[in-house]
Each structure stands twice: as structure tokens, then as C-alpha cells.
Amino acid sequence: MRLTKAGAGLLAAALLLTGCGRGAENTAPEAAKEVKDGAATGTIKVWAMGGEGEKLPQLAKTYEAANPGVKIEVLSLPWDGAHDKIAAAVAARNTPDISLIGTTWMAEFAKTGALDPVPALIDRASFFPGAMEAVTVNSTAYGVPWYVDTRALFYRKDLAEKAGIKDAPKTWDDLKKLAKAYQDKAGAKWGMYLPPTKPGSGQFVVPWTWQQGGEVVKDGAYTMDTPEMVKSLAFYKSFFTEKLAPTSLQAGDAERWFIDGTLGMQITGPWMVKKFEELGGPGFADKFGIVPLPGNGKQTSFVGGGDLAVFKESKNRDAAWKFVHWLTQAETQLSWYDIQKDLPSVQAAWQDQKMSADAKVAAFGEQLKDTKAMPATETWEQVQKMIEEEVEKLVHADAEPADVAKTIQEKAAQIGTGA
């Protein structure tokens, strides 16, 4: 009895504490402060994940040499757990000056109010428009695309020729035809790879919807139950029902099979070019080609990558923006490409011979011209996960595309865009 009373008291206290109310949400664009002229000074703390975190100090040395008095301190984090670490830093108001932020996290962190709007120092028109979309929340840019990343089609050229197909696929029909030909005439067990379980399928069904002119978010609400989405889902499912794509495989299988000819095609990202060339051994580089996604109408793919954001709590804000400015110059981006092979987010960098010399890399440059960013809503991560869970039902529970689209819309509407 005493316990329940104490519990009720605590509960009431907790409710009082938390019941302060959110108040009216501010959706007006936020004005950016100017950055003062002059050289950057002081220490700039940067958090970066994965290979970027490991290699950034190498690039930063050039900046430190050109700007005496600046010290760049890079903390390298693993991608796993980076989201939570940044969230914890925001909550504790103990953020670094700059952090690398995954594109799909931008809206969420921008909404916390912890990010500093991008100042005029940075030329927004220099980036790929799709990449810029991803950092823009309430018509305010809260980050700067540092590198971009997109998906294109990798296909076995040699096997396609063996199957009597000379041209790279451009349309959905071409894609299907080639997948079948790989199996029928080139001895491949599987024509195409698509993720049969989460994660990953969202990166296929959403761009396919865009290709037909569909939208997944409109006027601040999710619009998933559209004819375009149903068609994308049906197309996705057809690869499994027609036994063109494996319904179960292990990590690494898709890569292994692509190299040994068990698999004809897969849609993946730029980092795989080098990997395939290394894993495939000498001569393999000539056996596969990369082309923009085969489309239905347009050949749109999605653009992701990494963004740089400066935190409002930064004690060295101006210097931080100056460093970000330097990182997004075409020249810097090209030397970064040498170090880390990250694709430049600045369009001008792609004019350089370094980017156009390799046909495989150039294919990604071509694809980048027709890309869109995943919606910059704070709930997108959650929605994408939900989509991928529903897509699993297409593959493993033989669900109907129309029903799946309906469920996705119902759940997405319930989650809301947070706008």
C-alpha cells in the first residue's frame, strides 16, 4: 500500500516535471549568422565516422600548414553507435565544433536546434541539388554535403555478351530481359540481387517510385499508397517470384557470386568498384560495367553520403565554418578523392580529368545528375525501416503489392513527418 502511494507520488512528480508542453513549433526559416573575415585560428574539434574519421587527419594537415595557429582534432567514431553518441552529445550540450552526419539523420538533428544554419560563406549552388535537398529543413540549410554516394547498376559485361546482349540495360524491361538471359544463356544461377530481408530494400523501391514520377512525401505528409509505389513493389516482388533473385543468402554472397559468375547484376555503391577489382583479381575489371539505374521513365537513383554540420554550441564557430568551406572546395575534394575515394559533392570537381578518366567512376558522375535525396523528415529513418520490414512480406509472406503499399501508407501516416 505504502509502495503504491509512493509510486503514485513519483509518477505525479514526473508528470509535473515533464508536463511543461512543447508550445507552438517554429517552422520559419532560420537566419544564418555571418562568418567574420580573416584566417581561422584555435582548435577545431571534428567528429567523423569510419574511413573518413581515420583519414581526415591526413587531409587536415594541409589546412593546418596553410593556416598556422589552427589545430584540427579529429575524433574517429565507428558508424555503429555514432548516431547515439551525437544524440548524447547534443543532450549534454557537449558537442564538438563539427561533425560528420549521415544524410538521413540531418532532419532529426536539425530539429533539435543544435545545428548552426549554413552561412553565406558557403556557396550552396556548387553542390549537387539532390545532395543539398537532404540538408535543407524548413527551407534552411543546416549542413553541407561533404561527399556523395549514389547507387548504380553493376553488371557482368562478359556474361551479357555470352548471352547475346550487347547494350547495357536502360529500362525496367531491359533489366528483366538481361536477368533472364544471364540465367538461360550464360549459366548464372541468379540474374539479379535485391535484398530479400532488411536492410536495403528502401533504397530500391523509393527511387523506382521516383522514376515513374511518384513522390513519397508531399506537402508535409507521406504519400506511399500511390500507383507508382504499387508498381515499384510489384517490380521488386517479380524478381523473387520469377526466381531471378535469391530469397536467402548470407553476408558476402552477393559479392562472391558476382565475381564467380553465379550472379549477373546488382545495384550498389561507388565503394564497390575498387573492392570488385581487388577481389576479382587481374582482368576482372574488364568483365563488369557500371551504368545508371535502368528506369521507368526517368533513371533516378537516390543520393546519400555524408554531411558536415557545425554545432551552435561550438566555441570556435567561425573557424569551424572556414574549415568546412575549405573542405568543400573542388581542389580539396579532389585531393580527398585521392585519399579516401569519396565522391565529390561539389559539381565542379567532376570536370577534372581525374574523375572522367575511369569509365566506372564517370558512370557514378552520370548517375548523380539524376538523383534525389530521401525525404528530409525527422522520422525518415523510422519510416524507411518500416518500409523495409513491409517489403520483407512481399518476399517471404507472398503479400500483395497493393496491400503492402496500403499498410506502408497507414503506418507512415501514423508515424507522421514531424512537420
Binding site: L10, L11, A13, A14, L15, L17, T18, G19, C20, G21, R22, G23, H83, D84, A87, V90, A91, R93, E108, F109, K111, T112, G113, A114, P196, T197, K198, P199, T247, S248, L249, Q250, A251, E378, T379, E381, Q382, K385, E389, E392, K393, H396, A397, G418
Partner: protein
């Protein structure tokens, strides 16, 4: 007389009281470091989470966690209509209902074998059965993924010798959970075995002697001497395993990511997943439901297993 005795008694009482107070003070002093740490790092978050489960706290509120709207029981109402949540409850119960008895029975059998049957290499067997308990889950996951692979996995290769075409264990909606159960049993059986070994060794040998003189067979000795005397050990193991298994998280986290089709999403994994997508208020609500389930089951177990002893 009374006027003299009273002050003396009072004096004595005060002295006694102050001695007790001193002892109390020392006691509190010694526990203070723990109490402060407990209050700051356990009690406050636990109470705050309860409060947050009645709000719409999301990741955007990180800077101003108090600047959220109270939503009453909306999070709890949403739980009731969330099919993933019900799937997670069913998965968790399925997992615990199979894993607990299996671990305990196998652990007990191993303890018996090592206690009486196997005499050679006793230490070797003890160590090897206990090894999974102290091994890193990540290392175990790597090995189990290889074991359970579809084409090159050892399990399917062995099944292939008998002409059985094994499934892709971890990606098959039906087989994913049994695979995790197998892995969990393998991991925890060593712990159960060690505790039972200790329990077996504390049973006095005279009881066995006396019962065999009375003509009890080996089976009778097991049912009427060993098992009843192991009851406290069993009670402890059942409660600890039920609590542990209801909170199972590592297996889906490292092996399946909760899939396929949410068939291996446990409540703990769902909480983690929900938290990861920034729905802090909702995740707190699920946590409290899990807490209630565990508390309730523990009470039931105590009642059931205690009243008969």
C-alpha cells in the same frame, strides 16, 4: 529514590540511543557512496523514463527534454494496436518457454554425467562446457553464422550426408527462432551445469547410502533424494533464467537483426530498435511493459516453487 533513579535511567537510555545512532550513522556512511550512485544513475533514470513514457518525447527534444507534451496513456494505447509489439511478446514468450526448460534439463544432465558418470578428463569437460558462458557473443555469432549458413554451413553439410536439404536457418521465418534458441541453450547450459554441480556436491552421501540400504533403486534415489534436495538450486536457476531469457537481446542483435518478418524481434530488441529511431517516449513505454511482465512472472514463480517446499 525515584528522583535519583530517573535521571540515571534516562542517562542510560540516552547513551544506548546514541550508540545505536552512531551505529546507524556508520551504516549509512558506508552505504552512502552506493546510495548516491544508485540514486543518480539508476533511480533518477528509472523514474524519468516512467515520466517520459507518458509524453511524446522524440529525438528532436534532446536539447529541451522537458519541453514535450504530455500524451497521457497514448503510448500505451499505441502499444496495444502495434502488431510488431504483439509479435515481439509472442517471440519472447516462445523463446523463454523453450529455452528455460531446455537449458535446465540439459544442464542438469551434464552435471549428473560429470558428477558421477565421467571420471576421466573431468576438468576438461567442465571447462569446455563452461567455455561458451565466458566467450564473447560476437565471436560466437561469427562461428554460428558459419555453422548455420545455407550452402557452406556445417549444419547443412552434415544434413546433406543424410540427404536432407537444410534451410537457410537464420533467414527462414520458421527456422530463425529455433536457431537462436539452439545458440542460447548452447551458451547458457554451462552456467546451469556449474550451479547444479555445486548443488549435487552439497547433498550428503549418507542419504544415498541410507536409501540404498532401504532398497531404493538408482531411479528412485534420483526422484526421491536428489531432485527434492536440489529444489532450492532449481528455484534459483529457473528465476534467473526466466528473467534473463525474457530480456534476450544479444542473439537477435548479432545474428538476425530481429528478422525475418520480425520473427526474432524480442521485446528488448524492439526497445532498442524504437530508441534507435528516436521515439524515446514510446520506447520507455515498452520498457515498462517488459518490466511489468518480468515482475509479474517472478512473483508467480516465487509463489509456485516456494509453497511446495
Amino acid at each position: 529514590m525515584t528522583s535519583i533513579a530517573l535521571p540515571a535511567a534516562r542517562e542510560r537510555r540516552r547513551l544506548r540511543l546514541s550508540a545505536r545512532a552512531r551505529r546507524n550513522l556508520a551504516g549509512w556512511g558506508f552505504s552512502l557512496p552506493f546510495l548516491i550512485l544508485y540514486a543518480v544513475f539508476e533511480l533518477v533514470p528509472v523514474v524519468a523514463a516512467l515520466g517520459f513514457s507518458f509524453t511524446d518525447l522524440r529525438s528532436r527534444d534532446l536539447l529541451n527534454p522537458l519541453n514535450v507534451d504530455p500524451v497521457g496513456t497514448a503510448n500505451y494505447a499505441r502499444l496495444l494496436s502495434d502488431d510488431v509489439f504483439w509479435q515481439a511478446i509472442a517471440n519472447t514468450l516462445y523463446f523463454a518457454a523453450v529455452t528455460v526448460p531446455l537449458t535446465i534439463v540439459i544442464g542438469m544432465a551434464l552435471a549428473f554425467a560429470l558428477n558421477s558418470g565421467i571420471n576421466r578428463l573431468k576438468t576438461f569437460f567442465r571447462v569446455s562446457y563452461y567455455l561458451p558462458v565466458v566467450s564473447s557473443i560476437v565471436a560466437i555469432a561469427v562461428i554460428f553464422r558459419y555453422l548455420l549458413g545455407q550452402e557452406i554451413g556445417l549444419v547443412n553439410v552434415v544434413l546433406g550426408w543424410f540427404g536432407i536439404d537444410g534451410p537457410n536457418w537464420l533467414m527462414d521465418p520458421f527456422w530463425a527462432m529455433p536457431s537462436l534458441i539452439g545458440m542460447a541453450v548452447w551458451r547458457h547450459v554451462g552456467f546451469v551445469m556449474v550451479i547444479y554441480l555445486a548443488g549435487l556436491q552439497s547433498i550428503p552421501g549418507e542419504l544415498y547410502e541410507a536409501s540404498s540400504i532401504d532398497g531404493a533403486s538408482a531411479r528412485q534415489r534420483f526422484w526421491h533424494v536428489t531432485l527434492p534436495l536440489l529444489r532450492p538450486t532449481t528455484l534459483f536457476l529457473v528465476i534467473v533464467s526466466v528473467i534473463g531469457n525474457l530480456q534476450f537481446f544479444e542473439e537477435p542483435f548479432v545474428m538476425t537483426g530481429g528478422g525475418p518478418l520480425h520473427r526474432t524481434t524480442s521485446i528488448s530488441f524492439l526497445i532498442y530498435d524504437t530508441f534507435g529511431t528516436g521515439q524515446y517516449g514510446y520506447a520507455a513505454a515498452i520498457s515498462y511493459v517488459l518490466f511489468l511482465v518480468i515482475a509479474l512472472l517472478s512473483v508467480v514463480q516465487f509463489r509456485l516453487l516456494r509453497s511446495t517446499s
